[in-house]
Assembly symmetry: C2
Homo-oligomer: 320 residues x 2
């Protein structure tokens, strides 16, 4: 809301929290705590609906949308996509839904934890399963859906984020690796550090702080993410535990060795870091994103195939 208003877009919202309603109103935002009224107003102005609630509240919001805003386009910012898409199907929303997930945030939540520019240069995952499935079946993607896809990419761009097209299943597997696993890691590390008592806490420094920061997240939000993405997260956890167990075995022998993990881990770190090098190394004064860009005209010939290509690269899409 802050970013959109900052760009002069008309934006209004609903939250069930009365304190958040008051806080947002105090900052000059058009926020209500009446869901039905807000949705009716959205339907009248043909607004794009952005569902930004924890996973366990999505179903109820979708019910209200079906009742009060029968024709508006829908996107969301929930951190898992398959469970949301299951509800999209259950509500028959496929033709009016494009999923979203901005990959930025802090360990804090609520209106007071938001600020303009929070999503600057972040990836904003944008799902396109509806188009993918139609395209695979040789059917045309409705023009209304292409327009909605364009709008969702434009929404991301207004916040300064970079739209990364991705299928629901690949999204959930990727975020299990790079977001949900780090949350699980942080919770467990906080406990192990805490077990060391005040001495261990006194000696904790940057490596501990960096790896535990997201344990400050409201545990109900962490549960929501991890539990609803359990299908993707469990095999990733198995992969992770196997690496740790192997390191543990190497360290418990007569000649402790952690050579394999230390060298492979550093290689992975360097490989990942190399992608962000472009920003520093560019001779252009223009800051270059590490994500390759592809310009796509939604609805144009071959555009769904273009999205698949960008997805495979983890690239970003610019609509025109």
């Amino acid at each position: 809301m802050r970013d959109l208003a900052g760009h002069g877009e008309q934006v209004f919202g609903y939250t069930r929290s009365r304190s958040a309603t008051r806080a947002a109103q105090k900052d000059g935002f058009d926020v209500s705590s009446d869901l039905a009224q807000t949705l009716t107003r959205a339907a009248e102005s043909d607004a794009l609906l952005v569902v930004a609630v924890p996973m366990d509240a999505v179903s109820g919001v979708f019910d209200a949308i079906a009742e009060h805003a029968g024709h508006c386009g829908i996107t969301d910012v929930v951190s898992v996509k398959k469970p949301v898409y299951d509800l999209v199907r259950a509500h028959g929303f496929q033709a009016r839904y494009v999923g979203g997930h901005p990959m930025a945030g802090t360990e804090n939540s609520g209106w007071g934890a938001s600020h303009e520019g929070l999503f600057h240069r972040a990836a904003w995952a944008v799902t396109y399963d509806f188009a993918y499935e139609l395209d695979a079946a040789g059917e045309a993607v409705p023009e209304s859906w292409s327009r909605l896809f364009t709008n969702v990419c434009a929404l991301a761009a207004l916040t300064g984020a970079e739209a990364v097209p991705v299928s629901v299943a690949r999204h959930d597997e990727a975020v299990a690796r790079v977001s949900h696993l780090p949350h699980v890691i942080a919770e467990a590390l906080a406990i192990v550090g805490d077990h060391g008592g005040t001495l261990a806490q006194s000696l904790a420094a940057g490596s501990f702080k960096g790896a535990t920061r997201v344990a400050g997240t409201d545990p109900s939000l962490v549960r929501n993410m991890c539990e609803t993405n359990a299908d993707a997260l469990v095999p990733v956890l198995d992969e992770y535990i196997a690496l740790l167990s192997s390191a543990r075995d190497g360290l418990s022998g007569e000649n402790p060795s952690m050579q394999e993990l230390a060298e492979a881990g550093n290689r992975s770190y360097v490989r990942i870091g190399a992608r962000s090098g472009a920003r520093r190394e560019s001779v252009s004064p223009v800051k270059i994103s590490s994500r390759p860009v592809m310009r796509v005209h939604p609805g144009g010939p071959g555009w769904v195939a273009q999205l698949k290509q960008i997805e495979a690269l983890g690239g970003r899409v610019e609509v025109f």
Copy 2:
């Protein structure tokens, strides 16, 4: 060296790296690549020797100290303390050694990665096993050792760090929890993220970046830390893997639940964070450290018992 020189202390050094020697000399520092000569000079000026090399190089440096600087006080900044103390005993250095470990740094190493103020407000572990053992046996601590302890605390204070007295064994167990485990975690997470390919890397954000940063550390340094502290690290890794495995089992059931880990992890995070609250909440304009302070006069009556008390609290010592 940067901090000490910044405070007008006379400081000179040796490094086996010729490029680091040149870089430090270029910055105006008195650095040589001749170890024997540097140690002879240290002996002549009765300097305090600060051994700042990876664990696997300590033995060779101690041999050279025995040969060229037979009477200087010795401290070190190695990230494990028991293996160093074993070498201290083997060289008969106990009465002239006080161990150290400043808990700050970055994932980078070498002269270029250092800067004045790097240790500001960091904990600087200072070991006192020699005094502890004499005290337990009812024997007096030699005055020369008390003076050395004072000097090492003063060295830490000159860098802006806070001296935390700790026994070798408790140090190694604490850093296994809050430093070496985070390094193991970072290596394994970098690998799991890398396995997600460019898409997962594109979607990675703060939680991944924070938890993998130290995988950028030179793998030989990580191996040195973890392998030489394997005795303390293996049980900590077992504790950590057990937490992850339990969360994994909770997530793989029919009704996936991560309640226990998410809530316990957040409680630990809050408990640890509460200690640093003092700095923000103080009504005094003076910034207050989260580490309780105790003023100690080394050599004074009951001073070793006072160190034990501070150690139990993870507090800091100020010598006077």
